[in-house]
Symmetry: C2
Subunit: 149 residues, 2 copies
Amino acid sequence: MNADTGVRPCSIARSMEVLGQRWSLLVLRELLFENHRFDAIVKATGAPRDILATRLRTLEANGLVERRRYQDRPPRFAYHLTARGWDTAEVLLSLMAFGDRHLSDERPVTWQHGQPDHPHPLDPVLTCRTCGEPATEGLHEPTGPGAPR
Amino acid sequence: MNADTGVRPCSIARSMEVLGQRWSLLVLRELLFENHRFDAIVKATGAPRDILATRLRTLEANGLVERRRYQDRPPRFAYHLTARGWDTAEVLLSLMAFGDRHLSDERPVTWQHGQPDHPHPLDPVLTCRTCGEPATEGLHEPTGPGAPR
DNA sequence: TCCCATGAGTTGGAGTTTCCAACTCGAACG
DNA sequence: CGTTCGAGTTGGAAACTCCAACTCATGGGA
């Protein structure tokens, strides 16, 4: 706990400060889909143009997104994921898997996975790198400064 | 794409409607930490009491959370995760892993994983259930109604 | 008996964000 | 000359969030 406020110090809360504003994760989804242009992102997400502009600035300031000039006159820009931005893919795929399991009858998007010549549909599960078992099975009370009690 | 609006039909977007409001994921984190009481959740998250009340109603309406009367006079209630609510653990752990990797020097919470008598620290990675490889390596253009282009 | 504490909220009003439609700016196209 | 493209800005209204204070029922202590 945070000594004076009682608020738990937490990586989830820190992530949410960057990713938790409205439209941020859908913007990252579009960039993952190789949709790099402002207008295309507006169309595919439905985000208001002004909000999208400020979200892209925030994502850039946090090093998740890079703004690249792809043409000089008139100046035109496109947005690309940085390595850190790519690293949000796990979060996005987990959200997708949750939505697929509980919020949708059909599966609107199926990612392909594996060698380019032998792809199969991606079926994402969070596992433990140490033992290889699913993370949510055999999960116990955490320890550390942000832990309960 | 959604025929008339151009907005992509998407499980990520659907998940965000339920999980994406401010404080929702931190509330689920507390319930995962076995923090079931209203006042305790207020303290640990820092959420305003009125917002917490409406978030709990929304989570309950979406079947992620169950409101249980644990005392009759005066009536007192506690909140518990449903099976569907537990299923957000992958999203929370992915967010935690992202925050640990990029937003924090130390690791404020370490979950324990495995058999209760032989636990080890959980190190979460999203993998493909089909081939066992990390989901973000060898990820290709998706297919389906919500896919790009 | 009176006063305070506990726990799960609700209320009113101020402050902050988000939304929306319309506008800009420079260059190319017809 | 008028239109289109693409990446934004702008102003004002609507919605959401925050905060402090209040409620309501009961139990405990002086």
